[in-house]
Each structure stands twice: as structure tokens, then as C-alpha cells.
Symmetry: C2
Subunit: 325 residues, 2 copies
């Protein structure tokens, strides 16, 4: 994995992925006590950065493999990214989703033309389901994070951060990335290593699912004791990836861990101050910037809002609890 | 008023106003039955396009006039735009606001450093209050729409629409603009007349406050019978302006009129499909595109989301009424 692969992904994504804006608000700066720049990946196609990696992976496949169709496991954002990319290429997509994934994510994945196969997290083996479908139909697996072309696709967001920050005269910052398996985090870290080497990438995770923070601290891959629960479904994974962890270990850290209610507070700030809809998992980086400033350094922090696919009930609950007037 | 004044405003705004993205969603295309492109001015500084006109006006003033400070009348979005522009120039801003303006708008205007003077719409004469303050303190009035430099500032959004649409290969479209006094509408219309002459600007207004639609139909300035009420506070004005109406009469129409509940439905679609927070008045153009398609022509419609400064209660009510799962 190196910057050339990310640049190649950027060429393939040009005209397809959106260049998302880098936003700010004086009100957020006041809360954080430093300048806060927000990379609004909730405005990416399908409402999350995952489209970048999915489109990167599908566009890197051979025509023959792609024509037979693709398969993916996902609780929702990767699902929608793969579904849209597959539809754009005119190929079949089968998405294996947990039955308790947010309704919006399941509905959207279907509406984007994918065949959704639901499974019960507690009683069914998704890998066995996926292996059978792949074998029977010749589908190619698009992994959610531990794949070089997926990492390269997510890394294109890092190229944009470097360029947009430089345009504001900013070359030094902590860059907080919402982190699940580490595809987004490691991709951005590789891009910034090449394009903005004075920036430091800080993975942000929800409390109880801080496998990356603990892995970075111990120097080896650590697992979460639970793999579901909490509000931040988008970024709950069992452990960092075999490809993503060495990159994060070399380039990122220390990790930041936020409570679910901090993520909800950050969702409300994104609503009020940025006019953006963030999902809980997509708001953990902003939460870290706003409410864990003691763990940060420097005058400027850059955060990702990684996705905005939130059911209205979850969003309204956050507004109800932490909204202003 | 001509394109040169808008280009001059664009030069003054460069590096200050945001170039807001032109967004889309296949789900919105499906509802509308045509391609829908959304100019997300809710992502502008202060959460609405009004910052463009305010910054344009203040940057066009003489240093001496500006140094004595500015005054504005506004229910909220112009207020915030003027407050931020004044703070950036380091000059005083006095904003006269109705006491029943949305809380968020009053709070934000104060937080941006302006002196807010509240008045009672039913019993007090805001013009008399303003005249006294202007005279006593030498403040210059920044009008909300009927001023050439304000219109030119809003027109910079039209330059961006022309450029962003052309990059997608689009030169023909109905362009629906959320319309109050007509500054935004007439500015965009002037910009598109020069840069995308095959586009047609369609003002959108809430039912009961359709002064522009009626004025365009009759060919002379018509007044609203009421000047408050309804959800769309941002775009309720007594009548089109003396400067804006002739421009709109020459370039725009016919007007589109939507119900408040259509605006709420559009807010929910912006939430779910674009991850954007729209205020009711900022959603009327999207509402017209989604729910009044019979009044439109062509394969593509471009709409503005003019602002996102909505109190959480209003937003939650819309989600409650018209949200999905």
C-alpha cells in the first residue's frame, strides 16, 4: 500500500465520487477551544465515505470478474456503497446484512438495486452464507476495509483533506477519523503521510468498541469483547484488519474514545451549526474534537463526519436530549 | 444591475463565501420524475445564502461609512449574515429583529457579536426604531434585498450554479429559487442570463405569501395580505422590491406556490436523502421540484436550499409527521 495506489484510485473516482466540502463554524471553534474543520463525508454519494472504497474496488476488478457480480457483508454503509457502484457498472450485488441493521440502511440498499440477504447475528454464520452464495454464483467478495483497493478508495478523502487544508494555509493538525475496521483511517493516514506529513491521524471510536485504540496502545491486534450494541453501528467491528492495523500502527494514534451521549451531542452540534445530518458513528470524531480537547494538540483539528445514514427516531432522540431551543 | 456587478461581488467574496456543493440523490430523482440538483446554500456561512449579500454590501461600502457601523432589519438569516460580515470587518452591527423570530436566529445573531434590538410586530414601528438608531449613531442601513450590492452578492450563487451545472453537461433546466423579497431570485436570474441563458428561474413561495407569483402574473407589484404566520419565516416579505421586481419580471416565472406541509415533506427528504438540514422557507424550492412536477418542464430541475436555520422543535415536528422508519 502506498500513495500511488491512492492516486490511481483518485483517477478512477474522478467524476464519480464527490469532492466533499471542508466546513467550519465559529460556534464549534468556541466549544473546542481551537479551530475545527469538518470533512463532510455524509454528503458523499449514499451518505457515507464507503462509496469511495466500493467504487474503487469495483473499478479495479477485471471486466470478467465484475460481470459475474459482487457480494459484501455490511450493516449498512458499505452495503449502500457497493450497491450503488454495482448499479453504476450494471452488475449484480448481493449484500448480507444483519437483520437488526438500521431500517434506512436496509431499505436504501434494496432501493439501490442490490439483493439483500438478512441474517440473525446471534444464531447464523454470515461467513457460511456468504461462502455458499459466492461459490454458487461466482460472486467476488468486496471486503468492507481489509482490501488494498478499498483502503486506496477511502484514502482519496485524505488527498482532499490535504489539498483543502493547504488552501486554508493549514499543514499541521490532528486529523480525527471515525474508525471501525480501519479502512478509512489507514487510507487517510497514507494519503496524509505523502501530502501533509505534519498532520497526525487520530482514530476515534465509541466506548466499549475501542479495539483500535487498545491495539495501538498494546502494539498488537486486540478484539472487542462485544460486537453489537450501542448507537454507533456504522463503526462497530470485531477488531482492526490485518492490512489496516500495520498502517495505523505505523502512522496513527493515540486513539480517542467517546461515549454514545457525546456522539449524540456532536450530532446536535452538526445539526445546529453545520446543517449536516450525522449518524452516531459518523459523529464520534466531532465528539472527540468538541469534548475531549485535552487529548488533542495544536491550534487546529480536522474531523471527519463519516456518514449520515441515521433513522429518524435516533436523530430525534438526540435532538430531544441535547438540542437547544 | 448587470453581470459585471455580480462578477465584482464574486471577486470580493472569493475566499470568504463558500462555494457550496451541488448535490443529488437517485431517490429524489425518482420522486420528482426528473433529475434534481440541489444547491446547498444551507452550508453557506451562517447557514444561509444571506451571508453572500451581506458581505458583498459591507465590502462595497467606503471605509469611513463601514467604520461607523451598520444596521439591518431581519427575522434572522439576513441578521446573521450582516452580523458575521460586520464582525469580520471589525465594525458594529445593530440588528432589529421581531421578538417572535426563531430563537436560534436571535441567539446566533447575538453570538456573532451583533447588538440585537427586538420589537413587537403588532405594536411597534421597526422603521421608526431603525431611523432613530441610524441617525443617532451614524449607522448605514444594509437592506435585506432591495440593494444592488446585496442582489449582486446573492447573484454569485448563480455564477456557481452555471459553472457546476456546466461541469455536469447541463445547460438547460428550470432553476427553482426560494423567494422572499427577490434578492436571491433576481441575483441568480441575472447571473444565469449571462452564463446559462437556456435556464429559466422559477421563484418558489409558501401558500399565503405568494406576492411574487401574483406580481409576475399581473405584471405589477402585489402585496401579501398578511406579513407573518406560517412556517416559512425566512421568506415572508410584504411585497417584491422596487429593484428586484423589474428583474424578476423580465427574467423569471411563472412562480411556484407550495403548502407548508409540502415544505415539511421536503425537509424530511433533505434529511434522509441529502443529509442536509433545511429550514421550512429553505425547502420550498425542493418541495416544488418534488411535489409540483406538473408545473415544470424538461429533464433537469435545479433547486436552492436557501437556509438551514431551524429550531429543533420545528425540525422534529416535520420528522414526526413525514419521516419514514
Amino acid at each position: 500500500m502506498d500513495i500511488e495506489r491512492i492516486k490511481a484510485a483518485a483517477r478512477r473516482l474522478k467524476g464519480h465520487a464527490r469532492v466533499t466540502p471542508l466546513l467550519s463554524s465559529p460556534f464549534l471553534d468556541d466549544i473546542a477551544g481551537r479551530r475545527v474543520l469538518v470533512k463532510a463525508e455524509c454528503l458523499q454519494h449514499t451518505g457515507s465515505f464507503k462509496y469511495r472504497g466500493a467504487r474503487s474496488a469495483l473499478s479495479a476488478m477485471t471486466d470478467g470478474d465484475r460481470a459475474r457480480g459482487v457480494i459484501a457483508f455490511s450493516s449498512g454503509n458499505h452495503a449502500q456503497g457497493v450497491a450503488l457502484a454495482a448499479r453504476q457498472f450494471g452488475v449484480d450485488a448481493v449484500i448480507i446484512m444483519p437483520a437488526d441493521a438500521p431500517c434506512m440502511k436496509i431499505d436504501n440498499t434494496r432501493a439501490l438495486g442490490a439483493e439483500v440477504v438478512l441474517y440473525d447475528r446471534s444464531s447464523e454464520d454470515r461467513d457460511a452464507i456468504g461462502a455458499r452464495l459466492s461459490r454458487d454464483r461466482g460472486l467476488t467478495l468486496v471486503k468492507p476495509f481489509d482490501d488494498p483497493e478499498v483502503i486506496a478508495g477511502q484514502g482519496t478523502c485524505g488527498l482532499e483533506i490535504a489539498e483543502q487544508a493547504a488552501a486554508l494555509g493549514i499543514t499541521q493538525a490532528d486529523v480525527i477519523v471515525c474508525c471501525g475496521g480501519g479502512g478509512f483511517t489507514s487510507g487517510i493516514a497514507l494519503a496524509l503521510e505523502a501530502k501533509a506529513p505534519d498532520m497526525r491521524v487520530r482514530p476515534a471510536e465509541p466506548e466499549g468498541f475501542d479495539d483500535v485504540a487498545r491495539s495501538l496502545a498494546s502494539g498488537r491486534i486486540e478484539r472487542n469483547s462485544q460486537t453489537s450494541g450501542g448507537l454507533c453501528d456504522a463503526i462497530v467491528t470485531p477488531q482492526p484488519g490485518d492490512l489496516t492495523f500495520p498502517i495505523m500502527h505505523r502512522l496513527c494514534g493515540p486513539g480517542l474514545v467517546v461515549r454514545d451521549d457525546d456522539a449524540e451531542r456532536a450530532m446536535v452540534q452538526a445539526f445546529a451549526r453545520l446543517k449536516l445530518v450525522a449518524e452516531p458513528g459518523g459523529a464520534v470524531a466531532l465528539a472527540a474534537a468538541l469534548y475531549h480537547g485535552d487529548d488533542l494538540q495544536g491550534d487546529t483539528v480536522i474531523v471527519t463526519i463519516s456518514g449520515g445514514n441515521v433513522d429518524r427516531g435516533v436523530f430525534m432522540a438526540a435532538l430531544e436530549k441535547f438540542g437547544g431551543p
